[in-house]
């Protein structure tokens, strides 16, 4: 069975560098994108099982990307990750259907719990 593909979309280099390796160790396949546009114009959209999405990015923000995907009918679970701990933002995004919300820096355990939530959201495998 192929590893499920997780896409990391974050404008921060450290994050893009470190996360994919951890994800691979956790048993996923991982790709990283520096911006929402980069992700949208890639071929991976349909193949992506889960999205690790930064909230604040230059250009299109994380929530905006979420809207775009919804409007395109792409139903991929989204785990938001953010350096800013804003309670209101968390509420809003969860209500809009995010699978999970993680504040940086987050531990490996928190990451795995987030994936569990994402899995529950999907229901079945793609």
């Amino acid at each position: 069975m192929t590893r499920p593909l997780v896409a990391v979309v974050d404008d921060d280099e450290s994050v893009r560098e470190s996360l994919p390796d951890l994800l691979r160790e956790l048993g996923f396949a991982a790709t990283a994108f520096a911006s929402a546009d980069e992700f949208l114009s890639s071929e991976d959209i349909t193949r992506t099982h889960c999205l690790l999405l930064d909230v604040c990015m230059p250009g299109m923000s994380g929530p905006e990307l979420q809207q775009v995907l919804v409007s395109r009918g792409v139903r991929v679970p989204i785990i938001f990750i953010t350096a800013r701990a804003d309670v209101n933002v968390r509420e809003t995004l969860m209500q809009r259907g995010a699978a999970a919300f993680l504040s940086k820096p987050f531990s490996e355990l928190q990451l795995r719990q987030a994936f569990d939530a994402a899995l529950r959201q999907t229901g079945d495998s793609r």
Binding site: V15, E17, S18, E25, L26, A83, A85, P105, S107, E108
Partner: protein, 536 residues
């Protein structure tokens, strides 16, 4: 302006003088009667004998009135404005019906007496009970006496004019001055009020005169007897207090009491009230405005700090995420049967790099903070200090502290951050108030002074009479980070010190010779202010 001069009454001293003159005349000229008469105002249909010689056989008593149409000698003198000599009335066809003959007088010599403006006053004359030719010398004597009388009248007229003019000027002042002026007697009863009094307090002249000033306008809950103080002290008093309008409203006033010793009628005083409602309102507005300004500056600081913290947090969270994630990866890679050493090394390398990145973030931010210029401007430390005191008056009053200032007049202007220095002054002032909180056995004196120092510096000191401090632990005062006990508008001593340090100055404390301590700071005038270090 010139009143009817004939309204002027002759003062008794003058009458006494004139009495001596007529007595002398009667004596010297050996006649039974020497008299001065005065026209009776207003219509001059009569004249009155105002002085009459005390000689034997004088038929004319003082205060006797004569009609102006009965043909007397004096009447003729008055009507003709000419001297008259009647040597023997009995054998003179013109005069044989003169009324004086009825009382035994047979001859007459009289001169008209005029006011300086030419109006008729009356006559000065002598009468004899026998024929008398009144020699030239006697005529000259009488003439001179007439001149003396006229000189006296001139003086009287002049004085009267002056008095009237002064009176008019005073009345005009009284009427027009934009302060309430009340004339009171020794018992503080109102003798006179001006229109402004009615305007400020609502009582008309009729309602006010005769009342005791305290009964009229002092609010019931005020026990003070300020208005009578001026008599007790014998000198001018000036206070700010509150009085009451007729309709009950309270009026804040500044009151000046001037005792005046008036000869003769007993001492009187003048009370001058100025309605300071508007002044107080403006003062309050200004105070609020400054308070708001300081609050804003403070809030600004807080907000900036908040923003800064968020920024810092965000910037640091990124590399921290990298570190945590890489370590988790590394940990995984090393676990298990065949550890991925290459992968682990890579993760560690990335961790170190993220660590460096985090520390760079901190350094960059510190740098960013340092580049921000503090608001440096030319500052008058005296004025800034007065402002701080002004804002703290309420606190000072509530602490029962007496503030004195000795602010050097020649204090040069310095270049400094106004709000920061004011924070320091406020801090020192508040600490001084706190230090005297428990003092009961001596006056809570607070002295704030500024002076010019050698080496082109200015120095401000805050001297209290409080509990002082332990000299062993003096340094701790400045090191500890505890904030002041109140609402946080000031800053602690440690931050005060760093503010002063940034201005290339010095903040220190000494114990007084007496009770309490003095906190001082000195700042060079030409300070090149280094920016405040961030509170990280």
């Amino acid at each position: 302006m010139n009143s009817d001069t004939q309204e002027i009454s002759i003062p008794s001293e003058v009458l006494r003088k004139w009495q001596r003159i007529v007595d002398l005349l009667a004596n010297i000229m050996c006649v039974p009667s020497a008299v001065v008469t005065k026209m009776e105002p207003p219509r001059h249909t009569r004249y009155e004998v105002i002085v009459s010689s005390n000689s034997k056989g004088n038929p004319f008593p003082i205060d006797q009135f004569f009609s102006m149409d009965i043909g007397t000698f004096c009447e003729t003198v008055i009507k003709n404005r000419q001297p008259l000599l009647v040597a023997n009335a009995l054998e003179d066809d013109q005069w044989k019906l003169a009324p004086e003959i009825q009382v035994g007088m047979a001859s007459y010599l009289g001169f008209p007496v005029l006011w300086p403006d030419g109006r008729m006053f009356g006559t000065i004359c002598v009468l004899d009970d026998k024929a008398n030719r009144y020699s030239d010398m006697y005529q000259e004597v009488l003439l001179h006496c007439r001149d003396v009388l006229q000189a006296d009248l001139q003086t009287l007229a002049r004085l009267s004019n002056e008095l009237e003019e002064q009176g008019a000027q005073l009345s005009e002042l009284f009427a027009r001055v934009p302060e309430a002026v009340v004339m009171v007697d020794r018992d503080s009863r109102i003798a006179r009020v001006n229109p402004e009094f009615t305007k400020i307090f609502g009582y008309t002249t009729e309602e006010a005169v005769g009342q005791r000033i305290k009964d009229l306008i002092t609010p019931d809950d005020l026990q003070e007897e300020v208005e009578s103080f001026m008599y007790r002290m014998g000198e001018i008093i000036a206070v700010e207090t509150v009085r009451r309008h007729k309709n009950g409203t309270r009026v804040p006033v500044s009151l000046i009491g001037v005792p005046v010793s008036a000869k003769g009628s007993g001492s009187i005083g003048y009370l001058i009230y100025r309605d300071i409602t508007e002044t107080k309102r403006l003062q309050e507005e200004q105070r609020r405005y400054h308070e708001i300004q300081l609050e804003l500056a403070h809030a600004n600081r807080i907000a900036t700090l908040g923003q800064l913290s968020a920024s810092i947090a965000h910037e640091l969270n990124q590399p921290l995420t990298g570190i945590v994630t890489n370590c988790a990866t590394c940990s995984r890679m090393l676990a298990g049967e065949s550890p991925d050493l290459e992968g682990a090394r890579e993760a560690v390398r990335r961790t170190m790099r993220d660590g460096m990145r985090a520390s760079n973030v901190v350094a960059r931010l510190r740098d960013l903070f340092n580049k921000k210029e503090p608001a440096s401007e030319p500052l008058d430390l005296n004025e800034a200090t007065r402002e701080v005191i002004g804002l703290s008056l309420e606190e000072i009053k509530n602490s029962g502290v007496i503030v004195r200032t000795e602010l050097a007049e020649d204090l040069p202007s310095i270049t400094a951050d106004r709000v920061q220095l004011q924070q320091v002054v406020l801090n020192l002032l508040r600490n001084a108030l706190d230090a005297m909180n428990t003092v009961d056995d001596r006056p809570r004196d607070l002295l704030i002074s500024t002076e010019r120092q050698e080496g082109d510096c200015v120095r401000l000191s805050v001297k209290d009479a409080g509990v002082g401090f332990d000299p062993q632990t003096m340094d701790k005062l400045f090191e500890s980070f505890y904030s002041t006990k109140n609402d946080g508008m000031g800053v602690g001593l440690s931050v005060s010190r760093s503010i002063i340090d940034n201005h290339q100055g010095r903040l220190w404390a000494v114990l007084n010779d007496g009770p309490g301590a003095t906190f001082l700071f000195s700042v060079p005038c030409r300070a090149h202010t280094a920016p405040t270090p961030p509170i990280l």
